[in-house]
């Protein structure tokens, strides 16, 4: 009998010890400043009628994100040395996929969509297993890593005119834009990411970076729809050499460029019409001259 009670006591006591041992790990994120911020109204995100709460996201961030993005959100998790491209540094608050003008903060919805979409050609998985509320919570949590979110408001989403009908004229005009703004310098004349500047590109932190290859079938980082492609060159991919062309390309021309880029994607299921037009026109790659 004594033996039995000893065993039961041991079980309970060792459970208590283990509980105590696990506390410091959680305390790594629990600074006084963080607690203050977590209890402030700023520690929220708003996506449609969903309100995300940063406090609720802490366990999910620790479970799913911290290995790459790090406890401090500086993109310096334990896996970072082995990853290419490197994980996002949330302390800089510079994001590629935005609906807002270059240099501005993204909207909550931009971050919300990026989490669910994942980022092809990186180690960022598709986190569509979260509920919408969980994703909104994570968006709120991400914002605590940089003071930019306290000092600036997110940019206003750019206006995207309705998508026009694809025509041969528009595809040809898109090719003209492709040549004029020198997309080919990085992406190559056939969109194969082999332009003359491709090998020299670095991101804002000086790390080598590759331009997007339109021909290899990979998903564009910031979404697959025509509107997503439109947004990329009208907002730029901040932190990368991909600039915003909002000052160089008119909205109508931007749609033309979208249609031309579709002709460079042999594996894309959404571009049958553009490819057919390119075939009819006998479209040849732009000339660097």
């Amino acid at each position: 009998m004594r033996s039995k009670s000893f065993l039961q006591c041991s079980l309970l006591m060792s459970a208590a010890v283990v509980l105590a041992l696990s506390l410091p790990a959680r305390a790594q994120l629990s600074t006084v400043q963080l607690e203050t911020w977590l209890n402030s109204p700023a520690a929220t995100s708003h996506i449609g009628d969903i309100t995300g709460n940063a406090k609720a996201a802490a366990p999910d961030y620790r479970r799913y994100c911290v290995g790459c993005h790090g406890e401090m959100g500086d993109g310096n998790g334990e896996n970072t040395p082995w990853l290419d491209p490197k994980p996002r540094d949330f302390q800089l608050a510079v994001f590629k996929c935005r609906s807002t003008p270059t240099g501005t903060l993204p909207t909550d919805e931009d971050l919300f969509n990026t989490i669910a979409r994942g980022l092809d050609r990186s180690n960022m998985p598709i986190w569509n297993t979260f509920t919408k509320d969980e994703r909104a919570d994570l968006v709120a949590w991400i914002k605590h890593f940089s003071p930019r979110w306290q000092n600036e408001k997110a940019g206003a989403p750019i206006q995207i005119p309705p998508e026009p009908e694809v025509t041969p004229e528009r595809v040809k005009a898109g090719q003209e834009v492709f040549g004029r703004v020198q997309c080919w310098k990085c992406h190559g004349v056939e969109g194969m990411a082999n332009g003359p500047s491709a090998a020299t590109l670095t991101d804002d932190l000086g790390r080598p970076i590759l331009p997007y290859n339109f021909t290899d079938g990979s998903r564009p980082k910031c979404g697959e729809t025509d509107r997503d492609i439109y947004k990329i060159f009208m907002t730029g991919l901040d932190g990368t050499p991909m600039p915003s062309f909002a000052d160089n390309i008119k909205p109508d021309e931007a749609w033309d460029l979208v249609f031309y880029l579709r002709t460079l994607q042999p594996h894309n299921p959404f571009n049958a019409k553009e490819k057919q037009i390119a075939k009819q026109l006998g479209l040849k790659p732009v000339s660097p001259q």
Partner: protein, 462 residues
Amino acid sequence: MIASRRNLAGSLLLLLLVLGCFQNANALPAFARKYGLRCSACHESWPMLNYFGQKFKDNGYQLMHDRDAPIWQNPSYWPVTFRITPIWHRVSNNKVAEDVVPTTATGAPTVERRLESSGFDLSGLDFHTGGTLEKNISFYVLPSSDNTASFHFETVMGRLDNLFGSPWLNVKFGKFELDNLLSEKRILTLTGIGGVYRTYHFSPVGDGNFFGQIGDNQLGVEVMGHSANDRTRYSAALLSSVDGQVGLPYGSNAYSGFFTASQAFDTGKLGVQRIGFYAMVGEAPVTFQTLGGVPIPGSGIGNKGFHREGFVGQFYFGQHFDIQVVTQHGWDNAWFGQGYGGGAPLNAVPGTTLPVGAQAPTWNGALFEAHYVYSPQLIFIGRFEAERVSQQANGSASATPFPSNLGNTTAYVIGYRYNPFMTSRAGFAWHNEYAFMHQDLTSTFGNNVNSSELLIGFDFDF
């Protein structure tokens, strides 16, 4: 009492020292190493999958981005993980038949007494190797040993995923775990009693049908599909009725089917809830060709039917607490109820008839498993299972009717797993568990049997 306190203080000190020593451990479990994700990304607590891990598995061990194909890996990458668990455990059974006094003679008077034993021990050793051979083509091979290093193949399968570009069509072929959402192969408890789901293996007393164990890996082919976010899932498997044993040892033409479907629902802050059902419908032989009166392996004919079906629920209450529920209704043909099904010693040769009062054994069962996830590094587990026979194999008209509660089983287990570190390189858990099982009237002398086991150990994989 003083000695007990000293022992307790000593054991706690030892525990602290041991846990402290392992803070910097480093290792390379196969999938986590490939993708650079922590164990916690895919496991509620390893080895149990969370929703994201289930989606990864359903996608053929792929995250569904361009890093899935092995060409992205360093050529030295070798997707192998081993797992083993050194333990201390104490096992107790209150009704073990023994000679009244130890003797070398046979036929001495016997009695039922409690038997307890304790000591240091080992689990078996598993070598998991799995991953993609190419985008959308994957494999899993698991040589597994018992604790004497006697190996068998627990899993050997190839998978073709996203056929015709659709997540709704994936095929696996070989020996694999059935599509149980609450996976027994990923169970969080390790004792002999708590290390299996009783509901997945229940069989009435005297029943010869061991083919319907949904917890065992089976040989066959499975078609499964799911929505892009895995909210909706289905699977249908055609299996040989051999309970996963190689060499076709039983029927010459006996197959079973296993079918599942489930739907998950987004419930906001509570998380994702899932409900579904499963059904196993099959047949297996009770008659074998013989040579010299000895059944010939693989010659079974005279198939008889069986089925098990039930509901599955996975209910989450925020990020810390969840309850998993599985129910089962089981039915075996009366021949199985009389012990036929495995060949020797019972073979339903021509002329054999069922005894008077023989009837199809039928039962109902349920298991409830709750988890409190304090953090990804610490999980508390509690499980309750109950199996109740609703129709015994020997009915009231039988010469030897079975009591209505014969074989009824109740089991529970409580425990916790603490991972002193959480990286993408290794899994290590300090595991502590207590399991108890009560079975009605199943001892040699027809008494109730109570079994229990206490276990402490290091569960690790690398």
